[in-house]
């Protein structure tokens, strides 16, 4: 049995079925991300004064990722346009570029996550806080038994609030060096993972969900670029519609990042 309205527009809706389907799906996605943005707003306005982080994320990497996604949105559109003018060679080139740009985006995001996961904040028994990237742990390091040492590349502050605004003149002036701390001097130790504070929790949730969308979109685009492109020979119009629908999803993912970048990296 042939699936109806994969190429022709339905008389009642005026569009083919997959297009209406993707728009309905994107509408639900708006509410999904909207709920998480709403949670971000509530967490931010509910934070104790001076305890909401600023400058924790690498703006340069965020900017590069913004431009990569914008470029990938453009190559997606051009891939569809190439299908429309029946230029399959250019479609392959443009969609190949989209895949490469998407993988680069994910690579940079992974690097950022790794950077957060090796970044530690250590509450010391003398009331001070050590903060920096993990250099090494001694082989016998055991926080529960209070034996061994840990070395961070960072600095020590008197008040935890000093770690919140990394754009402040004090934070910029801080001298970072290798600090070795004995386990016996450690009261509490944790990395900048999702459970570090509400900022990292919402940061990992929002960007993680977004990265999953990028991954899913990349897999679909890869399928249409590779094995799925066989349809071009049998039904090019239907294939073109598939590229349009996957492109709409990809543009939505770009749209989400357009708001994620300023909200998380710039404000």
């Amino acid at each position: 049995m042939e699936i109806p309205y994969t190429v022709q527009n339905r008389p009642d809706t005026g569009i083919y079925n997959a297009k209406l389907g993707i728009w309905l799906f994107l509408a639900s996605e708006v509410m999904l991300f909207g709920g998480l943005f709403s949670a971000y707003v509530l967490l931010r306005v509910g934070a104790e004064p001076g305890m909401w982080p600023h400058g924790w994320l690498n703006v340069t990497l965020g900017t590069v990722n913004t431009l990569l996604l914008a470029l990938s949105a453009i190559t997606t559109l051009l891939a569809w346009a190439a299908c429309k003018v029946r230029d399959f060679g250019k479609f392959k080139i443009f969609h190949g570029c989209t895949i490469l740009l998407a993988l680069t985006f994910l690579g940079i995001k992974s690097y950022e996550y790794h950077d957060k996961l090796i970044h530690y904040e250590i509450a010391l028994t003398n009331g001070k806080f050590a903060d920096g990237h993990l250099v090494e742990k001694s082989k016998d390091f055991d926080l529960l038994k209070k034996i061994g040492t840990v070395t961070l590349h960072g600095h020590i502050v008197e008040d935890r609030r000093e770690l919140m605004d990394l754009r402040s003149s004090e934070a910029q002036a801080a001298k970072h060096e290798d600090i070795t701390i004995a386990a016996a001097d450690i009261k509490k130790m944790g990395n900048y993972g999702p459970r570090h504070n509400t900022f990292t929790a919402i940061y990992f949730t929002l960007t993680g969900l977004h990265a999953l969308h990028i991954l899913g979109g990349t897999l679909v685009i890869f399928y249409f670029w590779g094995p799925g492109s066989r349809m071009w020979k049998t039904d090019p119009e239907r294939f073109t519609n598939r590229i349009e629908v996957s492109g709409l999803f990809w543009h939505f993912v770009d749209l989400v990042w357009i708001f994620l970048f300023p909200v998380l990296y710039l404000t």
Binding site: T13, G14, I15, K19, L20, W23, L24, A27, V30, M31, G34, G35, F37, S38, V41, L42, V45, G46, A47, E48, P49, M51, H54, V59, T63, T66, L67, A70, L71, A73, I74, T76, L77, L78, W80, A81, A82, K84, V85, D87, K90, R167, E244, L248, H251, F252, D254, L255, I258, F259, F261, P262, V263, L266, T267
Partner: protein, 107 residues
């Protein structure tokens, strides 16, 4: 006829994409410049300006790359419902920030 159903010229799309990308670069630079500038006393004005620029950026992507400037009525209807519920969601959020129950410890 929606934009995606009109006859396509690859060259015209490449020109459009170049313009869109240049504007995206400019708006992204403007957001970063605003973020590191000394506009206003705190973050409120900065956030408003940055999100305003982000909306312009989003309009470009939705309007030109997603062809929303010339789509079918049904898609506009779906989006009108989406916008209505999204505004409702954000309205509830803003309302909640000003309406903590009595006895809530505020910082």
């Amino acid at each position: 006829m929606s934009e995606s159903e009109k006859p396509v010229s690859l060259q015209s799309y490449i020109r459009l994409c170049v313009v869109v990308f240049i504007v995206v670069v400019c708006t992204t630079s403007a957001m970063i410049a605003t973020s590191f500038s000394h506009v206003g006393d705190g973050w409120t004005l900065k956030v408003a300006i940055i999100l305003g620029i982000a909306v312009v950026n989003a309009f470009l992507v939705a309007g030109y790359l997603m062809h929303l400037l010339s789509e079918k009525k049904l898609i506009y209807t779906v989006l009108a419902f989406t916008v209505f519920f999204f505004i409702g969601l954000m309205g509830l959020t803003v309302w909640a920030t000003n309406g903590f129950p009595p006895g809530t410890v505020s910082h």
